[in-house]
């Protein structure tokens, strides 16, 4: 039924603004879209007020493209830069209180599971390092302990960007930022280690240097969350404003940080691994030889 919310009632098509007509006729629904297709269809996210050159925006664009079932996904965010883009996307977006994302997602996912027993509804939390590791820490950890079946994506810019550049728990030790005038005194929080300890089914650390890899990682995380348990993606999405990265150098910075300390890493629990291998095998069987080449490309 979800697709019917993007079906125009008879006679109204010509009264809709062009942007919505595009969304209806050429939106990313039902069909899986590849990164290489960007520009050839109407994206879920178009106009947004993010800063020029923002790596987070690129990440979000690709992440939204990669959702396995756009028409059955709900995104939850909190205060921070990310929501400025997310609230403009053609996907239901919940903007709740400070640091409540994973608690809201728990209730939402359970409610949706009660109402839609035979139809997977994907819930994805997409919030900043401050929202998830600092103010939302308890809710994040407990959603993991409870094995809530949704994906948590941390947009880790290692700073409170939206409030003007304060140090966060995910900031590198020694960085001089607002509220850390003498340099940050403690290490970047090991959220990946905590995720492992909490039994998160699939964990990935990623920088947005390879859009195709961003897409496959998101897809993996959402599908595993649907069937197995909580998944966590920690994505380096630099703040070019607060870290004074020249706009043309944003991707250079990402590559440098990736090489230095943010290399792609993924971790599966045994159950998640088994599920994913089976899913991939089934997919290959279904697709046949013609599309096999394409799925190789995404490796």
């Amino acid at each position: 039924m979800a697709l019917e919310t993007v079906r125009v009632s008879p006679g109204f098509q010509k009264f809709l603004p062009k942007e919505y007509q595009d969304l209806v006729e050429n939106g990313p629904f039902t069909k899986e879209r590849k990164v290489s297709e960007l520009g050839s269809f109407k994206e879920i996210l178009e106009e947004h007020p993010m800063c020029a050159g923002c790596a987070m925006t690129l990440f979000i664009r690709v992440a939204l493209l990669a959702l396995p079932s756009v028409e059955n996904s709900v995104i939850i965010g909190t205060a921070g830069c990310g929501r400025l883009a997310l609230s403009q996307a053609a996907i239901p977006f919940v903007y709740g209180n400070y640091g409540d994302t994973n608690a809201v997602a728990s209730g939402l996912k359970r409610g949706l599971s009660v109402r839609f027993k035979d139809k997977p509804k994907d819930v994805i939390v997409m919030a900043g390092d401050g929202g998830l590791a600092d103010i939302g820490f308890s809710a994040v950890m407990h959603s993991w302990f409870r094995k809530e079946k949704f994906t948590t994506v941390m947009l880790d810019n290692e700073v409170y960007g939206n409030t003007g550049g304060q140090e966060s728990g995910m900031t590198q030790k020694g960085m001089v930022l607002k509220m850390a005038p003498n340099g940050k005194k403690f290490e970047k929080m090991d959220m990946i280690g905590l995720a492992k300890t909490s039994g998160v089914a699939y964990i990935a650390r990623i920088a947005p240097t390879n859009p195709t890899r961003v897409a496959t990682t998101i897809r993996k995380a959402v599908l595993i969350a649907r069937e197995v348990g909580p998944t966590y993606i920690q994505a380096y999405t630099s703040c070019n404003i607060e870290y004074a990265i020249p706009t043309p150098k944003v991707m250079d910075d990402a590559r440098m940080v990736e090489k230095d300390r943010y290399g792609f890493m993924e971790y599966f629990t045994d159950e998640a691994k088994a599920y994913w291998e089976k899913t991939e095998a089934d997919r290959r069987k279904l697709k046949g030889p013609a599309e096999k080449a394409e799925s190789q490309e995404t490796k």
């Binding site: 039924m1 019917e4 006679g11 010509k14 809709l16 919505y20 106009e47 947004h48």
Partner: protein
Amino acid sequence: MNQTQEPAYRVVTGPEGLLPPAAAIMGIHLPEDGEGLVEGRIVPEEKAMEAAAIAMLTRKNPTLFPGPLMLWGWNDHTIEKSAPFFDVANEIPGVRIIPMPDYRPIYPKIDPEAVINPCHPNLTIWHNKIEACIFIGVHCHFANITLKMIRAGTNCYTIALCAEAGHEDAMASVPNFTAEKLKNFAETLRRVKKNGVKPLYEGQGIIPSGWAQIAGLTGANMVKPAEEMVEAGFSHDLEKGLDENEE
């Protein structure tokens, strides 16, 4: 619900000032099925439809604002309502149809000829100099906040044809508005005209949304709204519209 006492407050066309009170707080009650509200008074449903019909036929730049529940064919009820909706539109010469496709605050700014947005509905009313409008298929929460903002700063006569309990903040409102009632409303428009109400824009058809853009693309004549909008009384220079990114 029976009003034991006539409330003193009247819900009339604005501009009512900076921040008018919610009519419900001022003692205006919602009508029951079969009734309607006109300027805060509960009246029989046909009376409310008649008041709405007269306003749409005689006030400047009448406009229909179909909301998400009308625009998107998400269930049989919506689809069922679409034919009578256009039947109503065809009975109002020179009517504009400007949709409210969703409720997000649109960036960087809206095209007031193409959409109305609940975060800043006034821009659409002001730009198109709309003096009578109908909201239909807008979720009640967003209709209510929109109706109050319009009453604050414009002289627009607002009408809410509501599938649920109705709206106190509209000048005319009918609750439980089914496809059947929409058909009745088209009939009311015909009757009112037959009884001598002369439409302001006799002979004109439906004006498409985004009319200026369409005119630019097709070389057609722009269908400019009729002038002489009552001064809204705000300090802003509204001719250019407000920049949403202004901090």
